[in-house]
Subunit: 128 residues, 2 copies
């Protein structure tokens, strides 16, 4: 298997690369996470977003618990070869563990963070 | 000045927060960089994106050299309070130091990173 494309990436000291997930159809930024070399290779192989969970120190197959997986439409690399942008189809229309469409639901308004996006599904029902 | 909104952010050990810049009008992701507490406070105060350059270890007023500043339209915070998304107007239509619209111009195609977006302006002319 050709791994030149993986070698081109400038991994952090921890062997990770910051990854932005964007909804392909709407352009909305869904979430930000990290990928390891293994998780990115698996992402490409399986066509689904597979991250590296820094808190749990293991592969994080997005949607394995929630069903809210992310189908890969496109993978991009930035000019410094150290940030990944994936364009995805968000299964279930929910990327965030809070049950919202995406994770960036807090907007700064007059010096306060205000929740402006609705909870689409109760997390208790997502992770039951 | 109310700084509660700054205190809510979970800064890294280095005192930074990863920041995604998205073009407000098109939804395109322009770049990824880092902000310090000071740079984010200045970003809000001045209404322009001001990052923290980790390589140069100083404030990076985006556009100071290139003229390609970023006017803040909206600031968002993610569910874990540790990632910022700014929606901006990209002055000059060029966010990347390579002279391209945005930094994510390399697309993975059959195991190769392919440059798919055009250089709009020669960097030699941008940073002369």
């Amino acid at each position: 298997m050709n791994t030149n494309w993986l070698d081109k990436i400038k991994w952090t000291e921890d062997g990770l690369v910051p990854t932005i997930a964007q909804e392909d159809a709407t352009g909305k930024v869904l979430m930000f996470a990290w990928m390891s070399r293994e998780s990115l290779a698996l992402t490409v192989k399986e066509g689904k977003a597979i991250y590296w969970s820094r808190s749990r120190q293991k592969l994080w197959r997005k949607g394995d618990e929630s069903g809210h997986s992310q189908i890969i439409k496109e993978i991009r690399l930035d000019c410094d070869n150290d940030v990944i942008l994936i364009k995805v189809e968000q299964i279930g229309g929910i990327a965030c563990h809070t049950g919202r469409h995406n994770c960036f639901f807090q907007r700064l308004e007059d010096g306060n963070w205000v929740n402006i996006d609705p909870v689409l599904k109760d997390p208790a029902d997502i992770y039951s």
